[in-house]
C-alpha cells in the first residue's frame, strides 16, 4: 500500500522559500497569486494492507520523524 505524507510549514511559521517562490512568480508576470507555501511530499511503500492501520502507521512515522511538529503540520493520504 502506498501512503503519501504531505508536510507543510505551520501557519504562522515564516516560510521564506514560499515567499521567494511567490516573488518569482510575480516577477514572471503571473498575477493573482496570493500566499505561497512550500512544503514537501514523502511517498511511502507500506507492507500493511489494511488502510486504517496503514494510515495510522504513516501518521506515527510523520509524528516521530517526517515532520517537526514545532514548525510543520502534516497530512497522510493513501493511494
Amino acid at each position: 500500500m502506498k501512503a503519501k505524507v504531505v508536510v507543510m510549514p505551520k501557519a504562522g511559521v515564516l516560510d521564506p522559500q514560499g515567499k521567494a517562490i511567490g516573488h518569482a512568480l510575480a516577477g514572471l508576470g503571473f498575477e493573482g497569486v496570493g500566499e505561497v507555501r512550500a512544503g514537501k511530499v514523502i511517498e511511502l511503500e507500506l507492507a500493511e494492507t489494511d488502510p486504517v492501520k496503514a494510515k495510522a502507521e504513516a501518521e506515527a512515522m510523520a509524528r516521530k520523524l517526517l515532520a517537526n511538529t514545532v514548525i510543520e503540520s502534516f497530512s497522510v493520504s493513501l493511494d
Binding site: 504562522g12 515564516l14 521564506p16 522559500q17 520523524l65 517526517l66 517537526n68 514545532v70
Partner: protein, 232 residues
C-alpha cells in the same frame, strides 16, 4: 574534564571540536559513534558537533535526533549532564526536544559562511564563566538553516528565565537586524536548558581557538568548560 564528541554519518566538524577541547583541557576527547547505546563511564560533557548528519536530508538534525546514542544523551542530560550542540548539533538538540524551538532556513535562503558577533548574556554557566557579562566576541557561522524559531510564548519564557545565552550583535555590540544574519527570532544565537547545562548555538567558536588560524575569540567557551567541569 572528560568530553565525548559524537560522530554521526555526515558529521564534519568533529576534528575542529576535538582540537578546541584539547587546547582548553590538554586532553583528547573521546569520539563516540551514533550507534553506541551508552556513554563512556565518567563522561562530563557530550558534544554534538557541526556537519550535515544524514546529509541534512528531510530536516537538519532530524534523523540524527532519532539515533541510538540520543537515548543515552537524553538520560545523561536528565541526570544533569552537560551537553553542547554546535550548528548541526544545535539542530539535533532542538529536533530531539532537548532544547525548545527549531532552526529554519536562513531568511536569505542562502548558506551563510561569514564572521558574526555575539553578546554573552550571562556568565554564571559552565559555558560562559570565562567571558565578561555583555562581552562581544567574534565567531564564524557556516550554515543554511540557523534561523532560530519558537512561538512567542516560548521566546518570552526563554527571555524571562534568562535562557538566551548568546545574541547576534554588530561588532560594537548593537542588537540590530543587520547583525542578525540568518533572521533568528530576537537575534538568538544560542539557548540554554532550564538547568543551564545544555547549550545549543549556531556559530562555530571551535574555529576561533588558535592565534595562527582565526584568533582566539572562541577559546573562553572551552576554557570555561574546562574550569567548570575539571575533575576534582
Amino acid at each position: 574534564m572528560q568530553a565525548g564528541i559524537v560522530m554521526f554519518p555526515g558529521t564534519n566538524r568533529e576534528r575542529d571540536m576535538a582540537l578546541a577541547l584539547q587546547r582548553a583541557t590538554g586532553r583528547k576527547p573521546a569520539i563516540l559513534w551514533h550507534r553506541d547505546t551508552e556513554l563512556p563511564a565518567g563522561t562530563d560533557l557530550v558534544v554534538l558537533p557541526g556537519g550535515f548528519s544524514y546529509g541534512d536530508y528531510l530536516r537538519c538534525g532530524a534523523m540524527a535526533a532519532q539515533s541510538p546514542i540520543m537515548r543515552a544523551i537524553h538520560e545523561f542530560a536528565g541526570r544533569g549532564g552537560h551537553v553542547l550542540g554546535v550548528c548541526n548539533g544545535f539542530q539535533m538538540l532542538a529536533e530531539a526536544g532537548l532544547l525548545p524551538g527549531a532552526l529554519l532556513r536562513n531568511a536569505s535562503l542562502r548558506f551563510l559562511s561569514m564572521d558574526c558577533h555575539m553578546r554573552v548574556e550571562r556568565t554564571d554557566t559552565a559555558y560562559t564563566g570565562r567571558f565578561q557579562r555583555g562581552q562581544i566576541f567574534r565567531s564564524t557561522m557556516a550554515h543554511g538553516d540557523g534561523n532560530y524559531f519558537a512561538d512567542e510564548a516560548t521566546l518570552d519564557r526563554l527571555e524571562g528565565e534568562g535562557l538566551v545565552a548568546l545574541r547576534y550583535t554588530t561588532a560594537d555590540g548593537q542588537v540590530t537586524e543587520a547583525a542578525n544574519l540568518n533572521g533568528s527570532a530576537r537575534n538568538i544565537a544560542g539557548i540554554l536548558s532550564p538547568n543551564l547545562r545544555v547549550l545549543g548555538l549556531m556559530p562555530h567558536p571551535e574555529n576561533q581557538v588558535d592565534p595562527l588560524i582565526d584568533g582566539t575569540d572562541g577559546l573562553p567557551l572551552f576554557e570555561s568548560l574546562a574550569e567548570a567541569l575539571a575533575t576534582a
